[in-house]
Amino acid sequence: MAEKASPSSNSISLKTVDGKIFKVSPAIANQMLTIQPLIKDSDSSTIISLPDVAAFHLTKIIEYLEGKPAAAPSAVDAFEAQFVKDLSPEELKGLLIAVGYLKVNGLVDLMANTVAKLIENKSVEYVRKFFGVVNDFTPAEEAKCRQEHAWAFDGVDED
């Protein structure tokens, strides 16, 4: 908690891909497992650059880490439910990538669960649209994929 009281003295600077610099306490930064090894050696003048994370996503990550209740699982559930509710599908996707890259404690599970729920029982076309994935199969290749697991390509929900 001492870090929080005096953020200027030993806070960590994180620079997002769109050039914004965020100052966070070591307690927060330490929950991003990917940058953990870098924190030890850094001082107040160090800026850790995050090439795959946009300012918006880092804002949300910090919001999550700072806002998550410490106790009562029910309070955590409520907080997490509200956290993902506020995000658009587009924001969810970007945040999942950022969170997966930074390996943010707790948020990795939350984001992956949320995204998995959103594509539950959805068609391949829906999944492509949802993720903005370009179908690079030839029609023959795609037909082959579908034939191999014909079981799975029936009776999906309407988009």
Binding site: I48, V133, A150
Partner: protein, 494 residues
């Protein structure tokens, strides 16, 4: 600030992810798209392991990079879909392609998984890329249990099997083609002319893989069993998937006096084990810890244990395991005005735990009333006044140290699915199901009672062991053919 920028340059080298984050950014056009097509496989895997089997399979068709991640997950088994509840297969007695269904239980309702079968099948036949039934008997298999998207891959596999049949003879009997399940594989057989061998094979309906057991099953000519007898292959169990080198396949015959086994990938012929002694017969069997456990009915109930994998004896000698739990109270039978009232009749099921870590013996008690003069050959009941009704259930676990059966007071985290061909025990924790979906301390059953007048509907229900309350699932509403016998099946890619 200038100073900082230099530092940043330096750090970027360390922080930059190994995969081609930068390369992606070079593709200016539609950056967001390219990023997701090349979604890091670790992130895709995080999503995939949170999907159920069907959604998991669908990821293979999204794009080539997703397909690569999927293919690797299948090959290495390091990413698996969520555990599934078993499906109910209804195999029809009529050999009609539209007459079988696969159902799943969802939120206390039965949901037909594959509703569009008939249309697809009709289309398949219209386009003649699948031949009509008599010439292509294996289409029946499809119809029973595969989501009938009637793919050409399936028919190629089918033709493989068919060519085997055509060399021998035409098809005579299409009954009893379904014998059991091992992992994601169904064990099926094709019946040929009386006296000729049966061809037995494994089918994985998810991958359309077929493994034919190289040695056909037939009784040796010096066998005391006349070829015209009513002997049929009944339940089959296997020690593992047929893709495993050591897979042993075992068949229990419906005379309950013979078991045949075959090491699928080694043996040129089947080995027959005969029940010894007048009152001894084989009732049920299951693989546990690599050995075959056979429940017998002798003057006292006992269990025989065979080590088939390493056996050099022919036929192998079993170890006799202590007595199994006697039925208490004994079933009662009273006849009154040409009606026989049976109370406490027992069906027994042998099955392993969800991770094959335990062997369970389950007694399902039921009451019924039938017309005393409507009992046929082999005590077959031809007409029930009141069909069998499940009343309660007892579960025993084999204590592997003392070889004794211990009654379980509570199922704990187990949920049990009972069926005559295959039963499953699953972990409620692993299923991660809500209480209303999979109730605590409960046994689900899918039963069928042979009785021709009238055909009895299959019974699908749930018994709560805490209060013996039963909930039946209505099959009429799901719009399936009802003269069918049900069995549980959990599909799998492996």
């Amino acid at each position: 600030m200038h100073d900082m920028e230099e530092k940043e340059e330096h750090n970027e080298g360390i922080v930059e992810r190994e995969n081609k984050g930068k390369q992606n950014m070079l593709i200016e056009k539609d950056e967001e798209h390219s990023k997701w097509t090349h979604i890091p496989s670790d992130i895709l895997e995080m999503i995939m392991k949170r999907l159920n089997l069907i959604d998991f399979l669908r990821t293979s068709a999204v794009c080539s990079s997703w397909n690569a991640t999927f293919t690797e997950a299948i090959a290495n088994k390091h990413i698996k879909p969520l555990p599934e509840l078993p499906l109910v297969i209804l195999q029809s007695h009529r050999i009609s392609i539209s007459a079988s269904s696969i159902l799943s239980i969802k939120l206390e309702e039965i949901k037909s998984v594959c509703s569009s079968w008939n249309a697809t099948f009709t289309e398949a036949i219209a386009n003649k890329h699948i031949k009509p039934l008599p010439e292509l008997p294996l289409v029946i298999l499809q119809s029973h249990r595969i989501s009938i998207s009637a793919s050409s891959i399936l028919s190629i596999k089918l033709e493989e099997v068919c060519s085997v049949i055509n060399k021998n003879t035409m098809l005579l009997d299409s009954h009893h083609i379904y014998h059991g399940i091992v992992e994601g594989w169904m064990i099926l057989s094709i019946s040929l002319f009386v006296g000729t061998a049966k061809i037995i094979f494994f089918l994985n309906p998810i991958t359309s893989d077929v493994v034919i057991v190289p040695s056909p099953l037939k009784f040796p000519s010096n066998s005391p069993i006349p070829s015209t007898s009513n002997l049929k292959m009944g339940r089959m169990v296997a020690s593992s998937s047929p893709k495993c080198k050591d897979c042993v396949l075992v068949c229990l015959f419906t005379d309950y006096a013979h078991i045949a086994y075959c090491r699928v990938n080694y043996d040129k012929s089947w080995t027959m084990i005969e029940a010894k002694g007048d009152a001894c017969n084989f009732r049920d069997m299951e693989f546990f810890n690599g050995k075959l456990y056979v429940r017998t009915y002798m003057s006292s109930n006992s269990m025989l244990v065979y080590n088939l994998q390493d056996s050099t004896d022919n036929p192998p000698n079993p170890i006799v395991l202590g007595e199994i739990q006697p039925i208490r109270p004994l079933p009662e039978s009273r006849t009154h005005e040409n009606q026989t009232h049976v109370k406490g009749n027992v069906f027994r099921f042998l099955t392993t735990g969800h991770a094959a870590e335990e062997l369970l013996l389950i007694y399902l008690f039921m009451n019924s009333v039938f017309e005393t003069d409507k009992v046929g050959y082999m005590n077959d009941i031809k007409q029930y006044t009141s069909p069998p009704q499940v009343t309660n259930c007892e579960v025993f676990k084999l204590d592997t140290r003392s070889n004794k059966w211990v009654k379980l007071d509570h199922l704990g985290e187990r949920v049990i699915f009972l069926g005559s061909n295959k039963s499953y025990v699953m972990s409620r924790t692993l299923l991660n199901c809500s209480e209303e979906l999979i109730a605590e301390n409960s046994v689900y059953f899918a039963l069928y009672f042979r009785c021709p007048e009238p055909w009895l509907n299959p019974q699908l229900g749930r018994l709560c062991l805490t209060d013996n309350k039963i909930k039946y699932f209505s099959l009429e509403e799901s719009g399936v053919e009802l003269d069918a016998y049900p069995s549980w099946f959990i599909p799998s890619v492996w």
